[in-house]
Symmetry: C2
Subunit: 344 residues, 2 copies
Amino acid sequence: MSDPSFAPRPTLEAVAARAGVSRATASRVVNGSEGVRAPLAERVKRAVDELGYVPNQAARALVTRRNDAIAVVVAEPETRFFADPFFAQQVRGISRELTLYDNQLVLLLTEGAADYERVGRYLGGGHVDGALIFSLHDDDTLPALARRAGVPTVIGGRPDWSDGDTLYVDCDNRGGARDAVRHLLNLGCRRIGHIAGPLDQTASVDRLDGFRDALPDIDPRLVAEGDFTPDGGSRAMARLLDDFPDLDGVFAASDVMASGALRLLRTRGCRVPEDVAVVGFDDIVSVAEWTDPPLTTIRQDIEEMGRMMARLLLRRIESGAAGADAPALSSIVTRTQLVVRASA
Amino acid sequence: MSDPSFAPRPTLEAVAARAGVSRATASRVVNGSEGVRAPLAERVKRAVDELGYVPNQAARALVTRRNDAIAVVVAEPETRFFADPFFAQQVRGISRELTLYDNQLVLLLTEGAADYERVGRYLGGGHVDGALIFSLHDDDTLPALARRAGVPTVIGGRPDWSDGDTLYVDCDNRGGARDAVRHLLNLGCRRIGHIAGPLDQTASVDRLDGFRDALPDIDPRLVAEGDFTPDGGSRAMARLLDDFPDLDGVFAASDVMASGALRLLRTRGCRVPEDVAVVGFDDIVSVAEWTDPPLTTIRQDIEEMGRMMARLLLRRIESGAAGADAPALSSIVTRTQLVVRASA
DNA sequence: CGGCGGAATGAGAGCGCTCTCTCGGCGCGT
DNA sequence: ACGCGCCGAGAGAGCGCTCTCATTCCGCCG
């Protein structure tokens, strides 16, 4: 087997020799620093081309302490990670932003706490310059892990603790939820239920809080906990309907759950929005536009949030490298927006 | 800002000093090689714990030429990558297998050929020990790129060229397609159409070939090309129905497209399977079990294929390291299986 | 026309690790 | 009791790169 990986890769040394310059000069040219006279630079570039030289990243990383790679750590079984379009969009945003700055995305999937040790080792090993952590649940040790590993981190979604040092990007879950319920109220709904996400995540809690803001002193049974899956939404909807046959409005904490709720509503013969009006959250287009009827929802710009996470992290890494007098960085909370379609 | 990344990470040297041994011995202990007497090894381990030592991967990679990381390159816009459960399952399989062997997964998303240069640089940079490439289209230069970069590669899905050196993992697309059509035939269908995938991918072509195997000399208009999305399936179904009102059977080249077809069939008032029987391909459970009616389909074990890809690649890397007398590796084609649900 | 300043180039010291090679010490055979 | 062989530990040479610092070369001014 003629394994091409056996052809030893040319080193900077070789390039320098061929160009008749020193390694230092070759390095300067390769890294695009100025102060090399044109003819020399030209010769080096030619040598690079002819030899097909590509810098060895390990060697470079060893001295620069930079990897130009950041990890995306998902504290969620792959099943949900891939099934949920929310992650998909966020990762896309991240990926695009990182690409812009020539950084690579290393995906670290965890299946339960057993993998945490492995992830910790990886982060500590200096493989990546930073980490983006997603979808935290109560008491998740992932951020602590990253911190111990000395890896700059940005979290997707407000964490359930707060200290000035923790950076995150989230949307205004509470305000968005409030808007959703007010919309329902304006439509004339009198009996409004809420399909919440798992309450060990702040996004769910914040949305529930927003719901309560608009509807204080509500019967607690009007809140049914789902799990961000269609089925969960469906089950929660069923419970709500069983407990409150006079239900005429529902705010679901995610579009995906709302789609499940819609499905159940249909099997129960309820018309949407005539009998029951439904508002979702997220505005995941591939879901919200395709439900029957199309979903009224609270829009958050998920991809943009992904980009922001990446940018924030990159800046934090940068500032770490720059020293103490770096500009202070702060978490970002984005605005949400009501998108009215047909379901409410 | 008290950036913890500024606490310099302890080096092997420090561990050795603390344990009162040489760097070499410390290294031996850390890497679990034998031939170090227990008391010494014990002291080293203690030092590692106390210092919180984690080996610097860049330094290690520099000398071992191993990164314990492999790249997954997706020649597909993120949109489809994330939207399509097929990739999700495959990546899960890969991730699991890699984790087993303490390898990391680096996800390289490409958005069009513009990104190829970047990917090439990355692969050539020695960041990863190997690459898994997915979802190739005609004349895709990705494999050539990987080869030029000297990176061992395994391809997901049969490539459209063949040479003994190219390793791939695929299922028996043609045989599966044949089975699907035969099932339709056994059911008594007389006018069977095919919703094909994009014909610049071998999987689509192979499935079409299987369709033709079972139905030679068929009217070419009975084949409608889709794009592996629900919408594409829907559109193709519409075309088929328009051209052949007497259609009574459809074989779709993917479950996702079949679900779109089902949707269209419903809007047209066709009963499934009474009026038109439908068979899909893939057996993506989250799709096939949830369509209405549940989808009869051709099962391929996608996750297992992912695992196989990873294993094959790891072995190829291994064999590269072992030298010429490594066992010959060969591509894998897995068996498919008809799964009968309600749609046919 | 000598010398000075500044820019361009080269020399060389590591970065943290692995691994070969050498050396020291111990058990054993005679 | 002496020497041989072998196992366990240490010394040291890189891996390929970056970057500081010394050196050289040039254009100019005096």
